[in-house]
């Protein structure tokens, strides 16, 4: 399959501090790649390199087969970007905000109403963006990223700080774009979001990629499958864990069931956060 995003050996420094340290990243066409890491891990720097706002000190990036150093503007006309921070013209209406960018992309038959409807802002076209809630502003940001019908979508923390309902609505928009065949590079520190949305996730820590695979493979490779059982023992509840990948697991489970004192029983799989902690020794928060 043709690759929509390729980052090879990307390196960037702020003064003496290495923010991105020889990382390799890629996304197939139509794939969602989640880019997970705690604050300051190098996510946004990598993001800026891939969208052409930063020039890497070493390595190179190719978007849709084009060199980001040489064909920056050409690439930027075929990608959509939503930033971590709300950077809209707050004194203008939602429609005016989108029209500016449609004109900058040279789109003559742009329909702001249809796009705003798509992101759930129907009827809000003429409202001043400054009066919108954070969730509504985030939808305008997503709409702006979709103005030029991008082939690759770069989303930096698209649901950060949103209430669960708004966050879910944004996730639905992302899924819809994927269904249309759009490649999505999703930067987040929300492991739940990455797990739900991503075909593959990359863990970045201290500027380095520590793992890059499908969530399932990562869980199988680094996680522990286990069964958690609550037993009634001497009128008290006692918790027992059985690791399923160990050889004595069947015997242990048999013994537990035989005791007939089970109160609750749950199977558990590792979360991406557990795996991240295992790999880096630190959490995502």
């Amino acid at each position: 399959m043709e690759k929509a995003i390729v980052g090879e050996n990307l390196t960037f420094k702020y003064g003496n501090i290495t923010a991105v340290d020889h990382i390799n990243i890629e996304a197939e066409k139509g794939e969602i790649v989640g880019f997970l890491g705690p604050n300051g891990a190098g996510k946004t720097t990598t993001f800026k390199i891939l969208i052409g706002l930063l020039k890497p000190l070493e390595g190179n990036a190719y978007i849709l087969g084009m060199d980001i150093r040489k064909e920056t503007k050409k690439i930027q006309s075929r990608i959509g970007v939503s930033f971590e921070y709300t950077n809209l013209y707050e004194e203008l209406t939602a429609e005016e905000n989108l029209k500016i960018f449609a004109e900058l992309f040279g789109i003559s038959d742009f329909d702001p109403k249809a796009l705003l409807k798509k992101v759930g802002l129907e009827g809000k076209e003429k409202n001043i963006v400054g009066t919108f809630s954070k969730g509504m502003k985030q939808r305008v940001m997503i709409a702006r990223a979709l103005v030029n019908n991008p082939e690759v979508l770069f989303l930096d923390e698209p649901t950060s700080g949103l209430d669960p309902v708004s966050a879910n609505e944004i996730r639905e928009i992302i899924k819809e774009e994927k269904r249309k065949g759009v490649t999505i590079f999703l930067t987040t520190h929300d492991m739940y979001e990455a797990d739900k949305l991503s075909d593959r996730v990359a863990f970045i820590n201290q500027g380095k990629i520590v793992a890059f695979d499908t969530p399932m493979n990562l869980k199988q490779k680094f996680g522990k499958r286990k069964v958690k059982v609550e037993l009634m023992k001497d009128s008290k509840i006692e918790e027992v864990e059985v690791e399923l990948d160990k050889s004595q697991a069947p015997d242990k489970i048999y013994e537990i069931f035989k005791s007939e004192k089970i109160v609750t029983i749950h199977s558990e799989e590792a979360t991406l956060e557990d795996i991240f902690i295992k790999l880096t020794g630190r959490g995502l928060g």
Binding site: V81, E90, F101
Partner: protein, 348 residues
């Protein structure tokens, strides 16, 4: 830069500039206030001539004879005091008179703050001769020379309202510097610049669009002010200077906008720059009040040529070196702003 990119950015900037009620209000208020002040200020100069004299003999008869006349004569105790009165513009001119009855001669040194027209010089010499004749009762051989204190301008008296015209035109332009700085700082602070930079727009496009916005907001009010106050006299050279002055103000606005971390720091930078850049204007209202160091301030090369054209009808050809210095300052400022903006957007 593609036309469509530039027009879109320009439309956006103009829309945002005029959505900012504060700057729109200040722009209109400034124009109205300066026009009003122009009409309020005196249209003529005081007809009574004040003169100061330092003389090496008594001069009582001459003083007595001038009572009720249109010449007011002050006696200085020293040449230093005489010069101070001239420099402070408390008198039109000062006479240092040295009468030597034995040699039957009088030496007169006439001090003025700017070179005076021959007619005025003759009039001052004539007044001096009359005073000496009144005092002594007979004529002497009189020799006179003119010494200029402070900066040498053409020396004719200009009504305050006309003197203020270049200053106000300059202020209208300079005040817009903050508006332009705000346009840049706002784009950086709200980080909308990043959203623009991932379209077809480049930093150069953004700066040019803002530059044109700045030109519209500086040039139009200043030209309107000039037309309302002095009409179309010397219009082309004045227009040329206002254009270069606007370009300079825009470049400074860009620099202040690129230097500031947020709107408040831009205002702080802007205020600091404005205070320094306003200084050359004081020299127009009070010639000789500032020494030659003021020439290191680039706005000197805008406001002084404007003053010379408007109030002395000087040819713009004589002022080309001034315009070149102004243009060079603008280029340096533009390059510094572009460099800073690139650093702040692409390397942070």
């Amino acid at each position: 830069m593609k036309d469509s990119t530039f027009i879109t950015l320009l439309k956006k900037d103009l829309k945002i500039f005029f959505k900012n009620k504060f700057f729109t209000f200040i722009t209109i208020l400034g124009l109205v206030a300066y026009v009003l002040l122009y009409f309020i200020m005196p249209k003529s100069v005081d007809d009574k001539i004040s003169l100061v004299i330092f003389v090496n003999t008594t001069f009582d008869k001459a003083f007595a004879s001038l009572e009720g006349e249109e010449v007011k004569l002050i006696k200085a105790r020293s040449v230093t005091e005489l010069k101070e009165l001239v420099i402070d513009k408390k008198v039109l001119a000062g006479y240092e008179v040295n009468i030597d009855p034995r040699k039957n001669s009088v030496d007169i040194k006439i001090y003025t703050i700017s070179s005076i027209e021959p007619e005025m010089k003759e009039a001052l010499v004539y007044i001096a001769k009359e005073m000496i004749y009144t005092e002594l009762g007979y004529g002497l051989n009189i020799t006179s020379k003119n010494e200029i204190l402070g900066e040498d301008l053409a020396g004719k008296q200009i009504p305050p309202s006309k003197r203020i015209v270049p200053v106000f035109a300059f202020l209208i332009i300079l005040m817009e510097t903050l508006g332009i700085a705000n346009l840049i700082a706002d784009e950086i602070e709200r980080k909308t610049i990043y959203a623009l930079l991932v379209t077809k727009a480049t930093i150069r496009d953004i700066l040019i669009a803002k530059g044109i916005t700045g030109l519209i907001t500086t040039l139009i009010p200043s030209i309107l002010f000039i037309i309302i106050t002095i009409g179309f006299s010397h219009f082309i050279p004045v227009f040329v200077l206002l254009l270069f002055g606007s370009i300079f103000a825009i470049s400074i606005g860009f620099l202040a906008g690129s230097l500031g971390r947020d709107i408040m720091s831009v205002l702080a930078w802007g205020a600091l720059i404005l205070i320094i850049f306003l200084l050359p204007a004081f020299n127009i209202m009070a010639p000789g009040s500032l020494t030659s160091w003021v020439k290191i301030v680039p706005t000197y090369y805008f406001v002084m040529p404007l003053h010379r054209i408007i109030n002395f009808g000087e040819s713009i050809l004589n002022l080309i070196p001034h315009i070149l210095i102004l243009l060079l300052s603008s280029i340096i400022s533009f390059l510094a702003a572009w460099f800073l903006l690139r650093r702040r957007t692409y390397e942070s």
